[in-house]
Symmetry: C2
Subunit: 194 residues, 2 copies
Amino acid sequence: MKEHIKGYAYGEAGLEHSPVTKQDLELLKKTLLWSDDDNRFLKMAGDVLQDQTDAVLDLWYNYVGSNEHLVYYFGENGKPNEHYLSAVRVRFKQWILDLCHRPYDQAWLDYQHEIAKRHHSTKKNQTDQVQAVPIVHFRYIVAFIYPITVTIKDFLKKKGHSQEDVEGMYNAWFKAVTLTALLWCHPFVHQGEF
Amino acid sequence: MKEHIKGYAYGEAGLEHSPVTKQDLELLKKTLLWSDDDNRFLKMAGDVLQDQTDAVLDLWYNYVGSNEHLVYYFGENGKPNEHYLSAVRVRFKQWILDLCHRPYDQAWLDYQHEIAKRHHSTKKNQTDQVQAVPIVHFRYIVAFIYPITVTIKDFLKKKGHSQEDVEGMYNAWFKAVTLTALLWCHPFVHQGEF
């Protein structure tokens, strides 16, 4: 049974349209050397990760929690907000599956834009009605491409796939993480420069 | 004998100070899970790549050249500027070695900032005195993390290193590319949001 996810507005009609067009998206995928194999490997990765998302989030939250300069973004006055951390965690879990299983269509683009705004002062803290610092700084959104990519590999290995399949899933995941990270940067970038 | 590299202003006193502090840099490296091993592996990668930089650039330029939406940034009115492409190529080769061999100190930060401005309308086209489109769009700077990372692996394998060393060099390279890409984004980001 699917748990209710607060703020999970995927596909909702009220979401703002992404400023990134589907044509932009196609060119970005081309830049990322995206192929049909990546679609296949991402789906495979989603199946592999489906029942491991709690373990993945444990690892990621342990990483964030052990870095004062990162957990900073989840609170104010040096105190992390546990309610905020928990609410984000549930959506972050779902993001893993959406990254792997959803088609990258208009609804997907629109929800990436919603996530982008939730990192930026445009909308940070509003979804969870929390008091916390007003923005996640840009530099960490891009830097996160590394840890969010490399830490997934051990989880991709856990279901007995060949090394070739693991590498295929890993590379597709790397592309997908890079793509979403850059989409999440849109609100931070000067108009016309994205 | 070292060839003269036009616009290679590394370490020059006249360069603007990077707006990113050494303390910011340390926290970014922490975010990237940077360790002493990465320093060692990057140096090893530099030694491995030293005499392969032309082959690496052949691959990268073939990739850019076969993507109209990328070669676009090297010209105007749909015509790539060969002089511009050549001048950038020589600096790009040197960047590979600097990424691996240079200490990440103030001079390194300052030159990353110079490179950043050369991608942005702040300073694009000036170094090579060319007529070309006025900016490289932000999205491709981040997207490039993927191709610039994955394409290096085959070159890292060419000198008979163990699989463990190749993986070590590859991960350190991935971190270093992510770090420089995000530093190159500084001019594109709203003040106070970087």
